[in-house]
């Protein structure tokens, strides 16, 4: 007998696992997180594994965080970043999905454009920063552009790969019942690809947020990235970490929101889609 093998089997069978057990796991996860935070505190203050200047203990970060959220400056910076993120993301989603559908669907585009997309995707965009400033300036447009640029590739490439999985029989059904051109795209290709696009959007959103921060590092005078830069510049690591914490919360919030959207809008899709990262 192999009781463990059995767990593997039943678990693999049902990827959407049961809900009541969730409470238990959430509790265990909570305990794990508390454990990690406690270890962090001890490691810095007692064991002195790392100097507090580089990694302030959680208590210091928490203090910085509570101080941070009372500042009006923080909220306006957050709003500033989120605005750019929202605009850039919407653009990335629209362009990524539409272009992804087109490139995935039309073999001519697929063979001519796709390799370039992969090439562009693997270019370290950080290195092209001056080019950005030159072309787009330091206003919101360069930040939005960076959000867009970092977010669009996962979305586009995932959508593109998703299109390849569209069932040919659904396409045939669409054509038999009179759909062609844009209608076919809207009614068959897009919904079929949606789970893949959403997986891409999930990754794109997290990367896009990095893009917004990066854009604020490039220049300007607003946003969380700018606050982080100032904190890092004075080596106030507690505040810097508190800002990073906010960023992590936002990135994970986006992740959660999108997987919620995925469950809601693409409930028919239960399998796992691996996202291009």
């Amino acid at each position: 007998m192999d009781p463990d093998g059995r767990t593997i089997m039943t678990k693999a069978r049902r990827t959407n696992r049961a809900l009541p057990a969730d409470a238990k796991w959430t509790a265990i996860l909570g305990i794990a997180v508390v454990g990690i935070v406690a270890f962090w505190q001890l490691a810095v203050t007692r064991l002195e594994l790392v100097p507090a200047a580089f990694l302030p203990p959680p208590t210091a970060v928490a203090a910085a965080f509570t101080e941070l959220v009372t500042r009006a400056e923080f909220w306006s910076a957050l709003l500033f970043s989120l605005q750019n993120l929202a605009i850039g993301l919407v653009a990335a989603v629209v362009v990524g999905v539409v272009a992804g559908l087109a490139v995935g669907w039309f073999p001519v585009l697929h063979f001519t454009v796709a390799p370039f997309l992969w090439l562009l995707y693997s270019t370290p965009k950080v290195a092209l920063a001056p080019l950005f400033i030159l072309v787009l300036g330091l206003g919101n447009s360069s930040k939005i552009a960076l959000v867009f640029l970092l977010a669009v590739f996962p979305i586009l490439l995932n959508t593109m790969e998703g299109v390849e999985t569209v069932s040919p029989s659904l396409v045939r059904a669409g054509r038999v019942f009179g759909f062609h051109g844009v209608a076919l795209g809207a009614k068959i290709i897009l919904p079929s690809t949606l789970p893949f696009s959403l997986a891409g959007i999930q990754r794109g959103a997290a990367l896009g947020f990095t893009g917004a921060v990066l854009g604020e590092f490039l220049g300007g005078a607003g946003g969380l990235g700018h606050m982080l830069e100032r904190a890092a510049f004075d080596f106030r690591m507690d505040e810097a970490l508190a800002i990073v914490l906010v960023m992590v919360v936002i990135a994970n919030g986006l992740l959660l929101a999108i997987s919620g959207a995925r469950r809601r809008w693409a409930p028919w899709y239960s399998g796992s889609v691996s996202a291009v990262s």
Partner: protein, 331 residues
């Protein structure tokens, strides 16, 4: 030889009427001394008197920000400006910004000879390729600390001296340059202060987009005049004297979001870094050539690329000349 530039004609007497101009000014990093003149100029109303309002932003690449029009005026190190101009980036050197630089270095406690640096990490600048690195190496060599003679790794911990200081006090690096505000922490740590000198260096320049300058000659002159007034307000009175405006300047910094608690308790003469600034924002051919020489740049003809008319006009309006800065030494 290339043709010298013909200076712009800025007329005589008062510049044209105030134009209600908004100036975006780019600095390379959000440091209190970088902000200083502009914060003071704004708070004391010097810019408003000229019909100007100045907004300070940071830019990863100031030359690109200025040449793209994202910023009207920028502060950039002299060497970078020369290279940018050589590369055809459309910026003009407007004036000096800091006319001196302090070359102060600390080593780990007990490190008093150059060969003790063997096999350690040393900091000369925040990022690779920062022109200050050459000047600092030169200053160290002149003081008998020739880094080329030892096997020390030069590392770049990031742009600000606060970071260098933290690496230093946690014994990650054995030698750092430092500024006035780092001194108390270093003394408490027991660091050896091996070199302390103040030299006349064309540290940073103010640059402006060529297009902007041609369109706003009056505003450029007015901007320089207001900035000089602000510089005058914070500039160091000389060795041994505490700046008279210390408290009001620190109030201004605080109002601009900087933490000045450490500076308030400092009582040195250089607390405001005023010794780095010349009230006439000096810039000239000598500074240009010094930069090319010390940074081992390819020669570039000053007269063909720089028009000092704006600076000299603003200096003239205040009744001061474009004099080479006087030698200042630490007490």
């Amino acid at each position: 030889a290339p043709e010298p530039r013909t200076p712009v004609d800025l007329g005589q007497g008062e510049p044209g009427p105030a134009e209600d101009t908004q100036i975006t000014l780019a600095i390379p990093f959000p440091d209190v001394t970088m902000h200083s003149m502009y914060a003071v100029g704004t708070e004391l109303g010097h810019y408003a008197e000229e019909g100007l309002s100045v907004e300070v932003i940071t830019a990863d690449n100031v030359a690109a920000a200025v040449s793209s029009g994202s910023a009207d005026v920028g502060v950039e190190s002299a060497g970078s400006v020369i290279e940018a101009i050589r590369g055809g980036v459309e910026v003009d050197a407007l004036s000096g910004h800091f006319c001196r630089q302090n070359f102060d270095f600390a080593t780990q406690p007990g490190v008093t000879a150059i060969d003790q640096l063997n096999g350690t990490n040393v900091v000369l600048a925040g990022t690779s390729g920062d022109p200050a690195e050459f000047q600092r190496a030169l200053a160290l060599r002149e003081a008998g600390w020739d880094l080329d003679s030892v096997d020390a790794e030069i590392v770049y911990p990031g742009p600000d001296s606060a970071t260098w200081r933290e690496f230093f006090v946690t014994d990650r690096v054995s030698l750092i340059p430092f500024y006035g505000d780092d001194r108390p922490a270093l003394e408490e740590y027991g660091a050896e202060i091996i070199v302390e000198s103040l030299q006349n260096w064309p540290n940073d320049l103010q640059i402006a987009g060529s297009g902007w300058l041609a369109e706003n000659p009056n505003s450029a002159v007015r901007f320089l005049r207001a900035t000089m007034k602000a510089a005058e307000y914070i500039v160091a009175p000389g060795a041994g004297h505490i700046p008279a405006n210390k408290d009001s300047v620190l109030d201004i910094y605080e109002k601009h979001g900087f933490d000045v608690a450490d500076l308030r308790v400092q009582n040195g003469p250089w607390v405001l870094d005023g010794h780095l600034t010349c009230p006439n924002l000096y810039f000239g051919e000598e500074a240009w050539n010094t930069t090319i020489e010390t940074q081992k740049l390819q020669p570039l003809d000053f007269a063909a690329h720089v028009d000092l008319a704006y600076l000299e006009r603003a200096q003239g309006l205040l009744g001061i000349g474009n004099d080479v800065p006087s030698e200042l030494t630490y007490p």
